[in-house]
Symmetry: C2
Subunit: 547 residues, 2 copies
């Protein structure tokens, strides 16, 4: 009999269902279903009222409807009896206010026109004022959670978004029983069990195993109306791969899944990519390279250092501290320049990438680029920073500029790796997945700049595969799954499809250039960050008509 | 009877003859004749031997032949009797070794295949090793001339080029009677008089009225074989507008000019533009804006400060200290980006300039550009610097980049002006001529950035007009010319054709951006100049195959 695990990967625009053979790692069936309402940024469905520009909402019903569609399609290829376990990953920090029975607040007539009763998607950025206050007061009070986030709390996270509801929609806030992560909410819809997954609670919820949740005193110091906020947060923490329940009769009826099928705790989508890329322990750093990039690494030890977005014990794979860092723009930078800036007639990347690939590795252009066109997430964590290219001469060519941008993002990645190494976390190879892995020029440059083998993960759906792995672990050996992550990952992932090895001659040139990158990085990023901040402020003021 | 002055303007590729009415300033006749051999960079005429890449030579006979052609054409419009005086301007520092009768050394059979016997054009850069030694030893010895050149002697100047002949072609050097500036040589060809013009002797020859010529002790310290070099230099200094002789029978016979017509001392071409732009005293700064830019200003007082290429008493107009500064690339930067980098289908400037001109003045782009794509001449005087653009974001557009480049050169110009002001030299308006004056966007930005009225000189041939003015002054009142520069300039130049007035609102935005430009300028130019220098060195090493 076949033993398949099902991964449900809830992304920004759609949900993907992936059925994976637990013995071979073969990806047997895959289906994607778009969310009917997509990302809601202009106006709520059925309303003419324009939303503020930094809003990004979703309709919670879309998650259920789309997952049912995707699961139904997969069940045309396989039988529900063959599914031994289900895992769920979700964008984060995507949250919604609900009643104690799981009903979203936006389903009540009196709240349906209030945007604060809807799902706030991860990239909803309207809670920045709240985030600024959280940071200020947490630093004043030296809150113990700060060091787990390099001292910076993002407007995307649970607390600022919760506070935004209390500030902007007190009537919604009052009527709300729980403010829940969307991943945990979908797990509740499938299983009927409420719980809080350690991954999103740890990386986005200011919780961690050592110091617990933010204190009542701190919440009260933020705003007396938040004194009972912690009661609206779920507190029964569950871990990746932990079986938290099984498919309910109700969800089985809607989806065609078999009731009683084990279901794992949810995780964050990016973090689910770590097992999906075949990584089960210390050594490799996992990079998801797309429009932006996410760096994740596992370590047995806890190290505090500047530049990670979060470190969470058992947050990615139980038994390890999981460290997450990121670059705010990578593929977005290449697309900006090759497509929007140069506006070529044909394929935006083909010609320039070809010309850039025949340039000698590093230095042929004499250019060094600071890759901060969308700010810097790690290690500087400063959204006010902007991009720069240094070394322009009268013979500088677009393909040199383009290559310098790629090299710049690779230097940025190396800065992140070096921060890990300096903190004592060994990094011995790179494993990558994401939209950019199809470009050999980019991967070759990264291998040469960083000086480590760069392995392309076998699965094109590493994130969904990771969710399936969590499902198989949640099922356990007794149900045809696995009793350890090691065994599950070994069995369910395949060797890298390609390895880029660093060239020592290229590396030695990049080493020289990296010193110059570091100098520019530290000048604009550390010593004089106000130059770029002021530049951006003047731009905003001119655009706003204030100057 | 008509009274015309003739300006002979010897440029890099051609000579221009311009006849100007001394009473009205009308430009009556104009002719241009190209040099037959142009700029010799690959091999000497009749030789297969390849010249080193930093050589730029000329054939001295071309100057005579082409000037005769140009003069003959002008004499189809006017009579030689109507010419009351002749002025000559020449590129500098362009030099040649000659015998005491004026014969160029390259005319002797035994030397004709030796490139060091030919004219070394201003942009011949092969004497850089000699220039480096000159700078080193001059600083060690604290030579008094240094402060007249902000402490830096260029490889383009008389001493390094003379030393190069002694080093590379001792047989030519031994046989040479004089090493002469080409402007002085052409004046000798016209008049039969040897003299040394104060303009080129001052700006390029390490001479000045206060401390004289470089000492024998210094020359000997450089190299014992230079101990008699000063004997090969002419020392009878003559001043702009000084009558140094008149057209000889011989040259009259060849050219059709009337023998006995007064001839002025030669000047440097750029410096001749000052009277040609209608400037006869303190207050305005004159900018010749083309591929690069030259800033010149007159002052009654001597001020030493960092950043000018030279200050010479009586060097531009007698009675004033003339200060010269420059930007190594201006129009070249705009052409690089709009043409070579973007490679548009149609006119490289039309579309981008149109789009750039509708952007709000300053700051709409959030970009600041360091305009050092060809190094920095003033005030940093560092050829190793390169260009940079700071503030790039994912919505940055080519027209914003282009406008930032223009703004960057304007900030660079403002740095030069500020250095003058800080030294106590009043600057109250800008007067401009050169290839870029036809672009209103550029001039508007300069006026707004600098905050001074920007006047476009009436003459499109301000340099040749300046030479004609020197000719009219050399003629003197008794010959139908003038007894003062004031009167000559007032009579022979016309009011500016257009004045760009600064807009106070735009200025206030540019003031904020200029602070950020200054910070970047000082970081890369003063505090950490090695970043760009090392970047360029790595580029050179990679290109040379050494890395």
């Amino acid at each position: 009999m076949n033993r398949y695990a099902l991964g449900l990967d809830f992304g920004t625009e759609s949900v993907r269902a992936l059925a994976v053979d637990c013995q071979t790692g073969d990806e047997i069936s895959e289906a994607v279903a778009d969310y009917k309402h997509g990302v809601i940024t202009r106006n709520l469905p059925g309303s003419d009222e324009t939303l503020p520009h930094d809003f990004a909402l979703q309709h919670p019903r879309d998650y259920i409807d789309s997952s049912i569609v995707a699961i139904s399609r997969v069940l045309k290829d396989i039988s529900p009896d063959e599914i031994i376990g289900i895992g769920v990953d979700f964008t984060a920090c995507t949250i919604l206010p609900i009643k104690v029975d799981g009903t979203p607040m936006m389903e009540f007539d009196q709240f349906q026109n209030n945007p604060h009763s809807w799902v706030k998607l991860w990239k909803h950025h309207a809670a920045q004022p709240e985030a600024d206050r959280v940071n200020q007061i947490a630093h004043e009070r030296k809150e113990p959670f700060l060091k787990y986030y390099s001292g910076i709390i993002s407007s995307e996270w649970m607390l600022p978004k919760s506070w935004e509801i209390a500030n902007k929609a007190p009537e919604v806030y009052e009527a709300t029983d729980f403010i829940i992560d969307a991943g945990d909410w979908i797990v509740y819809q499938i299983t009927g069990q409420f719980c809080r997954n350690a991954c999103v609670a740890g990386y986005k919820g200011l919780w961690n195993a050592e110091v617990g949740f933010p204190s009542k005193a701190f919440l009260n110091a933020l705003d007396p109306k938040l004194k009972d906020l912690d009661k609206k947060w779920l507190k029964n923490i569950v871990y990746p791969g932990q079986r938290i329940g099984s498919v309910s009769e109700s969800f089985a009826g809607q989806s065609g899944l078999k009731s009683g099928t084990p279901v794992s705790a949810a995780t964050i989508d990016a973090h689910s990519g770590v097992p999906g890329m075949g990584v089960s322990g210390e050594g490799p750093i996992c990079i998801i390279m797309g429009t932006s990039s996410c760096h994740m690494i596992l370590s047995k030890k806890l190290h505090f250092f500047q530049g990670y977005a979060g470190v969470v014990k058992d947050g990615i794979i139980p038994g390890f501290y999981g460290y997450e860092s990121g670059q705010s723009a990578v593929g977005d930078i290449f697309a900006w320049f090759a497509k929007d800036f140069l506006k070529p007639k044909g394929d935006p990347f083909q010609e320039i990438s070809k010309k850039a690939s025949v340039l000698k590795p590093g230095g042929e252009s004499g250019l060094v680029a600071l890759d901060w066109m969308n700010g810097n997430r790690s290690v500087l964590m400063n959204a006010h920073l902007t991009g720069s290219v240094v070394g322009l001469m009268l013979d500088s060519k677009p393909e040199e500029f383009y290559r310098a941008l790629i090299e710049g993002t690779a230097y940025g990645s190396r800065i992140i790796l070096d921060a890990h190494k300096e903190a004592g976390i060994a990094v011995n190879e790179l494993v990558v997945c994401g939209g950019l892995v199809k470009d050999p020029l980019i991967l070759k440059i990264y291998a040469d700049v960083i000086g480590l083998p760069f392995k392309v993960a076998a699965s094109k759906q590493a994130v969904a595969l990771g969710a399936a792995i969590f499902g198989a672990v949640a099922a356990g050996k007794e149900n045809g799954g696995f009793d350890s992550f090691n065994k599950a990952i070994l069995s369910m992932t395949k060797p890298p499809v390609k390895t880029y090895l660093p060239d020592s001659r290229a590396k030695s040139v990049y080493d020289k250039l990296f010193v110059l990158y570091q100098q520019c990085h530290d000048l604009f990023g550390r010593e004089f960050p106000d130059i770029m901040k002021n530049l951006k402020q003047i731009k905003n003021q001119v655009h706003g008509g204030y100057l």
